[in-house]
Subunit: 105 residues, 2 copies
């Protein structure tokens, strides 16, 4: 659980999750594109994401394919939002998002 928060704490790692969210199953090389840093740096970040089980990998020949695993993310909310509180909070969040989209979205 600790590892999940650690993994999510870095902007680079969140960006990697964004990439995988919009295009799942990318290789290390593909993930490096547009990241503006060395391949080794990206690989280190992916190691943390794997340790947190936020990313799972599958090898294909010399390539390593990365897939986003959303389960640990839901467990974050479960820690501080009670089961019967969820719906109420979701309504609030949706309302907030709606207002933001109208004003500056």
């Amino acid at each position: 659980m600790d590892t999940v928060f650690k993994a999510l704490s870095g902007a680079t790692r969140r960006q990697l999750l964004d990439r995988l969210h919009s295009s799942n199953g990318l290789s290390l090389g593909e993930l490096c594109a547009e990241m503006g840093m060395t391949r080794q740096a990206v690989a280190k970040h992916l190691t943390l994401l794997e340790a947190a089980n936020l990313v799972v990998v599958r090898r294909r020949g010399r390539e390593k394919l990365h897939y986003l695993n959303p389960v640990p993310i839901t467990e974050i909310a479960d820690r501080w939002i009670g089961k019967y509180e969820r719906h109420k909070v979701r309504v609030l969040a949706d309302l907030k998002r709606g207002l933001e989209e109208r004003s500056d979205g």
Copy 2:
């Protein structure tokens, strides 16, 4: 949004949220108890939690009361879990939790 992840990245700050989750509206002094560090350190952590809007405060005389705000936490999940994917992932998370409770809980 960035500030939320930064705030959640520290174990001490997560512990503070735990305290507020089980007993909302505590003062700085009350939050310091059982934290095993100086008041100033705790105050710094609370500053970050406020900046992230995870904690909102209300002054009462010379005291500063702290309240947990769960909305930013739901927004984390929204970033990487699509609206129509939520239900499926929740079922998986509940299943996982159920299995864990049976085995080692």
